[in-house]
């Protein structure tokens, strides 16, 4: 089988998360396609004629629809943003190692910055649906402005599932009544001192949050980060995403902090 030939997926719904970020709901067209994934995994999505790019899965496997949250950033993502409901895109995957759920079934801190929050939504909804398998859960999320906050209509449902949810923005405005500041400042509000953590965002934010959690008593090996890397093949061959002995596409994108701290 030619691994590079994608499945076809129809865009069945588009939600606007921010002016430059849409949440696409996809339906695979290939009958009998075996598409099972875990939070933290990604797909290679393509618009034929523009190319392919890696996008992490934003939906939880506990729910029926497959969703990708895409920000207009380059040629392929712009091409996807220009698609309409009913259009077909190519999907390969799912690829990579997701979050190690069986090792996270205790207290969990989830921290996201910017578009890195998309992959964490998959984990949050997974935990919300299998709530009794996890301990206390705290979610910290920061975006540039209130306009850039994703999944706003879901925070309430996470809170009703017993999660602590704290949100902040870098730049406040007259409509925003919430926190202004860095994600790290939100961590101070949580009283969790051990457990596991999932972080995705810019490297500076990942390091700051991880250091703060380690000061609290979290072990380096229990902090899982999802890394962004340039990827082309998704199957460990093209070498674009190599980090020392690892390929982010196969050994990651989720790594424990102790394995890739130097690569950040």
């Amino acid at each position: 089988m030619n691994e590079y030939i994608p499945m076809q997926a129809e865009i069945v719904d588009i939600d606007i998360e921010s002016p430059n970020t849409y949440l696409f709901t996809l339906e695979l067209q290939d009958e009998g396609a075996d598409f099972r994934y875990l939070p933290g995994q990604f797909v290679m999505i393509s618009v034929f004629g523009l190319g392919e790019c890696p996008i992490s899965i934003a939906s939880s496997p506990t729910r029926r629809s497959l969703q990708l949250c895409i920000r207009r950033a380059g040629r392929v993502t712009s091409g996807i943003m220009d698609c309409l409901v009913g259009d077909v895109v190519g999907i390969r995957g799912p690829y990579g190692m997701g979050f190690p759920l069986d090792r996270m079934m205790r207290d969990v801190v989830i921290a996201g910055g910017g578009s890195g929050f998309a992959t964490l939504r998959s984990l949050i909804n997974y935990i919300a649906d299998r709530r009794d398998e996890f301990g206390r859960v705290a979610v910290a999320y920061g975006a540039r402005t209130s306009q850039d906050l994703y999944f706003m209509q879901e925070y309430k449902s996470w809170q009703s599932a017993g999660m602590e949810v704290a949100v902040t923005v870098d730049i406040g405005d007259e409509l925003w009544k919430g926190n202004v500041g860095l994600v790290t400042s939100l961590i101070d509000r949580f009283d969790l001192t051990s457990g596991s953590a999932a972080i995705c965002g810019p490297p500076v934010m990942i390091n700051a949050v991880a250091e703060k959690l380690m000061d609290r008593g979290f072990h380096r090996a229990d902090i899982y980060i999802s890394l962004e890397r340039h990827m082309k093949c998704g199957v460990g061959k093209c070498e674009h995403c190599s980090i020392g002995p690892y390929h982010a596409c196969q050994d990651g994108p989720v790594f424990s902090y102790d394995r890739v701290r130097d690569a950040l």
Binding site: F48, G49, E52, V88, H230, K237, P245
Partner: protein, 338 residues
């Protein structure tokens, strides 16, 4: 099966093979020997072509598939892969193919590579006169074929000692039985003698550990300032296999795989502009780490075959073996030339 092929019979052997299969052989061109489809051109088996034979397994550009759009849905077609006989490849390149087999064979196996690989017969020419740049002996990649091939030839003076290694190799020899003479014990002795001599002719100190040692003491940022980021070392390296995937054509077109190089600044750059390997020094270091650290971890073998092509081609004259820069070692290199 062993046989002796007199030198003047070689074109007739290639003729006989060319009638059955596309033969890729090293022919003389104005720019030195090059592997091309053989149509009777003069064969050059003396020097090693600069462009490695692995380009016939991982082409500079190939279509992974063709997409055809109809009413908003797509159908996909794969290109027919030609059956080929690669003639006169060197033991270093053969070793590189063995490495690529392991690298592309990791789960999930790269079928685009293996479709070509499976349709390819390999005829190796053992190296009796290695080039000045060669150091395969220190890396156990030559001068004698050590990896699976179909047929190996050794130039023993007035002809070639041919040794078939597989049923396909026997078929290749049987295609032109009339041209062959029986192999004699003297031929085998000559082969052993010449290959031992070739092994001794190569520098004995250029091994994996020597290069690793040079890596430890290298001033990568200084080397990075000399490097002009041309990617030449990657494109002549038979083990380098970095690639890019891109589309050509709307609404119908091809998804192409093109060779790429980790020497280019955009290779690891993210969409937002951040780059995990920002400097050329970091990129050079990465190139070496892949070959002497990562590939050994993945395949159990050094990721360098000692062909010395990177050294030959580097326009910045970075000594790719001891990681020195020629201009800074002017006196030493003039000494070495004498």
């Amino acid at each position: 099966m062993k046989a002796f092929l007199p030198k003047d019979q070689l074109p007739l052997l290639l003729d006989a093979l060319g009638e059955r299969i596309e033969v890729i052989a090293p022919v003389s061109t104005d720019a030195g020997p090059a592997f091309v489809t053989w149509h009777g051109q003069p064969i050059d088996l003396k020097d090693k072509p600069l462009s490695p034979i692995t380009e016939f397994l991982l082409p500079h550009k190939e279509a992974l598939f063709t997409y055809i759009q109809e009413a908003g849905r797509y159908t996909f077609k794969e290109e027919e892969i030609p059956s080929r006989l690669l003639f006169g490849i060197r033991p270093c390149d053969l070793h590189a193919i063995a490495l690529l087999d392991r690298i592309f064979g990791r789960e999930p196996p790269d079928q685009a590579y293996f479709r070509r690989r499976r349709a390819t017969a390999l005829v190796v020419q053992n190296c009796t006169s290695p080039g000045k740049e060669c150091f395969c002996a220190g890396l156990e990649a030559g001068p004698e074929a050590k990896d699976p091939c179909d047929l190996q030839l050794t130039d023993i003076g007035d002809g070639f000692l041919c040794q078939a290694e597989t049923p396909a190799g026997i078929l290749i020899l049987n295609a032109s039985r009339a041209l062959l003479q029986p192999a004699l014990p003297g031929h085998l002795q000559e082969r052993t003698k010449l290959l031992q001599k070739a092994r001794r002719a190569m520098p004995q100190d250029r091994s994996c550990s020597q290069i690793r040692q040079a890596m430890e003491s290298a001033d990568w940022e200084a080397l990075g300032r000399e490097c002009i980021s041309c990617g030449g070392c990657s494109f002549v390296c038979p083990v380098c296999h970095c690639f890019n995937i891109l589309d050509l054509g709307v609404p119908d077109g091809q998804r192409l795989r093109c060779r790429d190089s980790c020497m280019f600044s955009g290779f690891s750059r993210l969409t937002g502009g951040a780059n995990p390997r920002r400097t050329q020094g970091q990129r050079l270091r990465h190139w070496y780490q892949e070959k002497f650290d990562v590939i050994p971890q993945i395949t159990g073998l050094p990721g360098c075959v000692g062909c010395g092509r990177c050294h030959l081609t580097c326009p910045a004259a970075i000594n790719r073996v001891d990681l020195s820069v020629a201009s800074r070692l002017m006196d030493d290199s003039s000494e070495a030339r004498r």
